[in-house]
């Protein structure tokens, strides 16, 4: 794998493994935290670790907001982190041009998940007058993932735009199919996460 496949006009390759693996590692950390909190919400664990805010975690994790959906909100977070990790791993170090769709799905998964975490952190103290240490930790993980993920999405969007300008099919470019100069063939319709 050539790590120097920088996009046109870029000084580095945002799809290089050295760029992506730290984000994937963060996603796994976030998944671990969210899974632990979900297991508490499902009462697999009777207590939840809370070193700073007394009964804060209990208040937050049993709140009405956390049970709006059929599954607890932490379980939804865990699913989100897995989506981040899977879409972060799929594809080689040229994926910004060989499979823009996965890069863009990855960017959307990381961005909105971070936004939801921020929203939940804002809601906690305002609505319930409580803080939750591990919820904050999860939000910090989500926020840290956004910045480093967005460069790759930008590279893919620029690539799709420039191929479109050249008169190539937007859809085929997006999916990484076909007539592109030197692009390897890809598993069409495969491995949708």
């Amino acid at each position: 794998m050539n790590e120097n496949q920088a996009p046109p006009g870029w000084s580095y390759n945002p799809s290089a493994w050295s760029q992506r693996l730290p984000i994937v590692a963060l996603a796994f950390v976030g998944f671990g935290i969210a899974l632990y909190l979900a297991l508490y919400q499902w009462r697999v664990f009777d207590t939840v670790w809370e070193p700073f805010f007394g009964g804060g975690s209990r208040t937050i994790l049993n709140s009405g907001v956390s049970r709006i959906l059929p599954i607890p909100d932490a379980a939804l977070g865990a699913v989100g982190y897995i989506a981040d990790a899977v879409t972060g791993i799929i594809g080689g170090s040229k994926r910004w041009k060989t499979m823009p769709w996965i890069v863009i799905v990855f960017g959307l998964a990381v961005g909105p998940l971070g936004a939801v975490s921020i929203l939940l952190v804002i809601l906690q103290p305002v609505m319930f007058d409580a803080w939750c240490t591990l919820c904050l930790a999860s939000a910090i993980v989500s926020v840290l993932m956004i910045g480093p993920a967005m460069d790759e999405m930008l590279a893919s969007l620029q690539f799709v735009r420039s191929e479109w300008n050249k008169g190539r099919s937007l859809w085929r470019t997006f999916l990484g199919i076909g007539d592109q100069h030197g692009s390897p063939s890809l598993p069409v319709g495969g491995s949708v996460s």
Binding site: P7, P8, G9, W10, I122, V126, G147, L154, Q158, W164
Partner: protein, 115 residues
């Protein structure tokens, strides 16, 4: 980098200050919401490709200044926190910081004319 870290610290302070200063009501909600937004966006703006999000903190900083006069904050501590935090945050958000990476024209390249 340091300007973003200062705003991150200001954001964390705004989230913690209602407990420290024993604020309640509108002052508390305002401080926590502004703090969470400011801390999040200043961390995201550390990376060069998302540096533009520092402008969100200019809005948050200006709102903090306005909010000190809009809401009926009880106590000098609440008013002083909002004003000082707002001034620092707005000033820091104006600092662009070095951009060393080339990213193919950035986000604006997506919206330019075809060709």
């Amino acid at each position: 980098m340091w300007a973003r870290l200062v705003n991150t610290a200001v954001g964390i302070w705004l989230m913690a200050s209602p407990s420290v200063l024993e604020l309640g009501g509108a002052a508390k909600a305002n401080s926590v919401i502004c703090g969470a937004l400011a801390a999040s966006f200043s961390v995201i703006a550390i990376w060069e490709v998302t540096r533009g999000l520092r402008w969100v903190n200019l809005l948050v900083g200006c709102w903090l200044l306005i909010s000190a006069f809009v809401f009926d904050f009880r106590g000098a501590a609440a008013v002083a926190t909002a004003i000082v935090s707002g001034l620092v945050m707005a000033a820091m958000s104006l600092i662009r910081g070095p951009i060393k990476q080339q990213t193919g024209g950035g986000w604006s390249a997506l919206f330019g004319r075809a060709g």
